[in-house]
Symmetry: none
Subunit: 189 residues, 4 copies
DNA sequence: TATGAATGAGCATTCATTCAT
DNA sequence: AATGAATGAATGCTCATTCAT
């Protein structure tokens, strides 16, 4: 493993444990066993480490969300999207932390924040289609998108905080609640 | 206004602007115009400032959520609870930041985190009742509670990030989505 | 007990535990339960507390050393002086600390240091007499005095550090060693 | 001279002048002309500077005491040991300060204090031999050792405080007093 | 006599970063 | 590519002291 990779890996672990703000370069250096100057040989500054890490973690985000989406069934599409997002966050805690902290963190430059939003484009398209096909009520797309996203996040948080041991039935319940919320009146569920 | 109050107020403003981690004592001191030692005369720690601030802001949290809840109508109760929470966060950005950062912040001691959870007791009770009265489907209470809370948070975030200028209709849409999610099958909405 | 007495007592305890340098006013204030300003009402500054304490503890020092000295027997005089000094230090640990730290402590003004030396006047006189009476060899008086004093101190240190449990026989051995050192050649011991 | 050496040297000088407690890092930094961070690049702590200094100064302590000890003559051995110790302290004021403050200083970790005691092993052996060979009376070894050490210290203190200008004859007197104290009855001196 | 709010200099330490090798 | 010495601004905190009540 290259020194650069070691630094990135160490940083990933530290941020996952402590958050972005609490993770110092000195800590990264101490923990990774890499020399001071070596870090600065590979990265311009601390921000660049985080940026690079963020890009690594999110580059496949867009594709992940839309992976294995079935062709026709809009309900099944919803479920797959929901689970894609859920398991992505569960398996990539750092991506989750980033997505949570992204709005407030001055450590993350605006350009990256904008980039992150692009990933939601597909989700937005999905809801627009759903409304057009009269499956969903004609809610504001951003509102729908944000609530959808928030629902996934809520469940990830339960999983994270381990208030209850999350079972498959709980996940299914959450998906159902999430789905029903958007449905048009009198839709047969 | 006492020096102590000035420090608290200044800290409140700075944290609201920059987050907890990015707010240093030196900044608080510079901004408040209070002397170094004076801060430490009133507070044992930097942590104590934050803790005290948090307690100030959240002490009425529990009552706020349940304020003006109508007696009988479970749907109206839902709406009022939802709006109480929403406007509480909108009007108390710091409380919102705290509630968002609370899980991950090492700055906030566990005792406070536990205290925060107590406030959700009434919400939990509400959902239990709703299930018992067969208005809501028999979902896991914690899941319901967390999704409910997450929905409000989603909308506050839209409001915060000003992606769109949030109108009353958007809020109503969000409440409707939120409400419908929990409803029992075939319930007349 | 007056507040002033409380402050002095607390300071005494703290210095005995931690030494002069490590004892701060804030600590004294916290430990004594007396208010900030009250301390400054009774004492001009930190130095004055220590000075006053020092005077309290050493005012009877001179008399203590010469207490119960028998009239004629120069050997018995030696023993009593030795034990007076030894038990004074054992029972007044602070006086011991002061006497040990006195030379290097900038906290103690020179005037007090000079005053402390006066107490040795009687000891000096004793040795001068001993030399004149040809019991002791004609060593330099200051050297004798300082070695005598150092011998007592050595034993107090053994007692303090508890390397061995000090028994009466050890004390007697030390006195004997001390006494014999000064004797004139061929003196019948 | 490396920056690290400069820091150690400066610290040595300052402590010699003012004592351990009164020597602050800021002072060391100012005096040495080395940057703040540089000190912390080389030393973990303020304590580590002192510890390293102490180790530097005392590592040859054991050998110094036993340097040039003649083979047979127990009296001459005594004199050489005595002078070795005396001049070591005179020439290494910091070692003297350390050895004086060692018991009470919380700044010096216990591990170092223990290490310091090891150096006395040779002195202890010497007195045991002297007792066995019936040159010395059968006093407790620790008592003898401590008094011997205390005698040297007493003379160093006279030298330090410059109460009198210490001449060779004074030193010889002190050695004689010291030596005679331990002698067995009727020993021809 | 007693209080405690207020002060600002000073302390030990951490931080991100630069540079010569 | 890799190292680690060097930097100095900044941080959280302690200190002795002053002053109005």
């Amino acid at each position: 493993m290259s020194k650069k990779a070691i630094v990135l890996q160490t940083t990933l672990e530290l941020i996952t444990k402590q958050g972005i703000g609490a993770t110092s370069l000195s800590q990264i250096i101490k923990e990774s066993g890499v020399a001071n100057g070596t870090v600065y040989h590979h990265f311009k500054n601390k921000e660049e480490i985080i940026t690079e890490l963020y890009l690594m973690l999110t580059q496949d985000f867009g594709t992940v969300v839309m992976r294995n989406i079935p062709e026709d069934d809009i309900k099944k599409q919803f479920t797959v999207m929901w689970l894609n997002l859920f398991y992505y966050f569960v398996n990539n805690p750092l991506a989750f932390i980033f997505s949570e902290q992204i709005a407030r963190s001055p450590e993350i430059p605006q350009s990256l924040k904008d980039k992150a939003r692009e990933y939601y484009h597909d989700i937005e398209e999905y809801f627009k289609r759903g409304v057009k096909e009269k499956v969903f009520k004609a809610y504001n797309t951003l509102v729908m998108e944000e609530l959808f996203f928030g629902n996934v996040v809520s469940l990830v948080k339960i999983h994270e905080n381990e208030q209850i041991k999350l079972q498959e039935k709980h996940i299914n319940q959450a998906i159902e609640i999430s789905w029903r919320g958007f449905l048009k009146d009198k839709t047969i569920i």
